[in-house]
């Protein structure tokens, strides 16, 4: 194109998105985004129409989590923009790179309470990494380039670009910049040589070391380096929920997941360790429990790209603000080969005496944990597992063996119900080479079920497994354990509701909705399984299908997630049943 040729701001936007590397755009139209939609039909990348803006953002998020590249989403002003807030918050806390473009009323109408006007950057500010309010069409190419840079540098996160309609329509000759240079934002930081020597010395001198790997290991592409360090220096590895897949859980050095519902071996090892090498973690309260009792014997080394996360929740002996992969590749040459036979045999004892297991409660009722094992078996442990939020999320974390980065996608920090279905669609679009399985609760599945249509339309062979326990299981579990079994507002079946909900107990339906009919109405192939003997075969059949499948599994409603360290309590108060 001629350097001086003018095109509209909307055309400049679509052209800039392609130049920035957009492979697919998720979104939903409306009045203040129509100029942009009008040029999408000529775009270099395909468009995927979601069915709710929250779903669109979670799809872009699933795409980003499974590829590491920014997910891109386009919505209209007002309600379109406010519907993205949950998706932004979900991506923001987990450090997921997104570009969310929102239409805005023309600048002349901003501040007049115009139709579908909302202060989008004002509302989104607290749940995003950065927001731009475009003031002129000439700014659009540069802002797109800056937004992609900000989303992917430092701790990744979602960036909002709010574009008034007059800027979409105005003509501009501004070109996409060759390079981005931001005056005030320079997040790159590297470890000093003194820090590397200190880290190597701590590792070489430790008697009971533990590597504690989080989502930052996956974001920085450092999983192989973690394995090399662990094997060279004989260091057991625990992960966070977000770090599942950063270390092969079938490796003898794996302690699997730590935290509230983590393995006893992981939690006891951290409690007993003399050195914790924390890589790309935040020390969330779901992991530390009572902070004053956390890892009492350990010196903590914390490596993270976010300076604000170091020393935020726990005091550290050595804090390194740097990319995890850079630190590991440098330190490796200074680390001596070692084994810690006494330490690892103590840990192996814990693994044998306290494995994370479950037992059948009623012979004819499927246990939810068995569903995760069935999915593991049917996919050879290679599925991209996407979860929703609740008990099933923890069972998915516990009863599937993760071995590959970016194969466990979950809303860790925000715990957003409704994430699973749309995120799985984004992941399936991003990774057609892998089978994607979404595990959802009956509660969360009802929050974003409308998006199943998108999977059907795009012929995505995703399997959505609905773990139907007839209740908001995680809430029910807390009420059973901590609120005197007062099941207020947490039962989804008609029977068993609290009296204040005033439901007639003789209603014709018990389980509502009928997920099989619902799935069929959305065009998906659907199965229901109730009999434990048919579980494995049904899951295997759905997973093998080339179509979009929904499997409703009616499971034991009384099952709880164990082990559990109650919120704010120390490791010593772990309960097993």
């Amino acid at each position: 194109m001629n350097q001086n040729a003018k095109r509209t701001g909307a055309q400049a936007l679509v052209e800039s998105l392609a130049k920035a590397g957009t492979e697919v755009l998720f979104g939903y139209p409306g009045g203040q985004a129509l100029d942009i939609f009008n040029c999408l039909t000529d775009a270099k990348f395909p468009f995927v129409l979601g069915r709710h803006e929250q779903g669109c953002v979670h799809m872009a998020d699933g795409y980003a989590r499974s590829t590491g590249k920014p997910g891109v989403c386009l919505v209209t002003s007002g309600p379109g923009a406010t519907n993205t807030i949950t998706g932004l918050a979900t991506a923001n806390i987990d450090g997921i790179p997104l570009i969310v473009i929102t239409g805005q009323v023309p600048m002349s109408l901003i501040g007049t309470d115009a139709f579908q006007e909302a202060d989008t950057t004002g509302v989104a500010r607290g749940v995003s990494k950065h927001c731009f309010l475009v003031q002129s069409a000439d700014e659009i190419p540069e802002i797109v380039a800056e937004a992609f840079y900000i989303a992917t540098h430092g701790k990744p996160g979602p960036v909002v670009i709010d574009i008034p309609k007059n800027c979409q329509q105005a003509l501009t000759s501004a070109q996409y910049p060759e390079r981005v240079s931001l005056r005030a934002y320079h997040p790159e930081s590297a470890a000093t040589s003194a820090q590397m020597n200190r880290l190597a010395k701590l590792i070489n001198e430790a008697e009971r070391p533990v590597i504690y790997a989080g989502g930052g290991v996956i974001a920085s592409g450092a999983a192989k380096d973690v394995a090399t360090l662990a094997h060279r220096a004989g260091i057991p590895v625990a992960t966070t929920l977000m770090g599942l897949g950063s270390f092969d859980e079938r490796d003898p050095l794996s302690l699997r997941m730590a935290g509230m519902h983590g393995t006893p071996a992981a939690n006891w090892a951290m409690n007993d360790a003399d050195l914790i090498i924390a890589l790309g973690v935040r020390f969330s309260d779901r992991v530390t429990g009572k902070i004053s009792k956390y890892a009492p014997k350990a010196r903590i080394v914390h490596v993270d790209c976010d300076p604000a996360s170091i020393g935020k929740n726990v005091s550290v002996a050595l804090g390194i603000v740097a990319d995890v992969k850079d630190v590991l590749t440098t330190v490796l040459s200074r680390v001596k080969s070692a084994t810690h036979p006494e330490w690892t045999s103590k840990i192996d004892g814990w693994k044998k005496s306290h494995p994370v297991t479950w037992s059948q409660m009623h012979p004819n009722v499927i246990m939810p944990q068995a569903v995760m094992e069935a999915i593991d078996k049917a996919t050879g442990g290679r599925a991209v597992m996407v979860t929703d939020v609740g008990q099933h999320q923890m069972w998915a974390a516990q009863h599937f063996r993760y071995s590959i980065p970016r194969h466990f996608l979950t809303s860790g920090g925000m715990g957003t119900m409704g994430f699973g279905i749309p995120a799985a669609i984004g992941a399936a679009i991003a990774r057609p080479d892998h089978k994607t399985v979404a595990v959802c609760g009956d509660g969360g599945a009802q929050m974003t079920f409308e998006e199943v249509v998108v999977a059907v339309e795009h012929k995505l062979p995703v399997t959505f497994v609905v773990i139907n326990n007839g209740c908001l299981g995680m809430v029910r579990q807390w009420q059973e354990l901590f609120y005197g079994k007062n099941y207020s507002g947490s039962i989804l079946t008609v029977r068993g509701r609290a009296a204040n909900e005033r439901l007639e107990q003789d209603l014709k339906y018990d389980y509502l909705p009928d997920f099989v009919k619902l799935a069929e109405a959305h065009g998906a192939e659907a199965y229901r399984v109730i009999d434990p003997a048919k579980l494995d075969a049904t899951i295997a059949r759905a997973v093998r299908s080339k179509k979009t499948t929904v499997v409703e599994v009616i499971v034991e409603p009384r099952a709880n997630v164990y082990p559990m360290i109650p919120a704010g309590k120390p490791v010593s108060e772990m309960v097993f049943k």
Partner: protein, 81 residues
């Protein structure tokens, strides 16, 4: 938990939304801004914000780190008043 008044000196890019982001970051954590003073510097594209807040050393340190993470914040320094 020794609360004291700290004065934060922030140099920020003079762009819309920057003031709101900085004030929001502090007030969103339940900290009250005691004094706020914003003005231009000789370089018209940079503004200087003086913010007095009451807090513990640990909390103020955390706020400073978060402020430095902001895309439009050039530099933050602090001193106890």
């Amino acid at each position: 938990m020794n609360e004291q008044i700290y004065r934060l000196n922030c140099y920020v890019e003079n762009k819309p939304g920057v003031l709101a982001r900085i004030v929001g970051l502090i007030s969103g954590r339940g900290y009250n801004i005691q004094t706020l003073n914003v003005g231009p510097t000789e370089d018209g594209t940079v503004s200087r914000m003086k913010i007095d807040i009451l807090g513990t050393e640990k909390v103020v340190e955390q706020i400073i780190l978060q402020l430095r993470n902001q895309v439009n914040v050039i530099e933050v320094t602090s001193r106890r008043m």
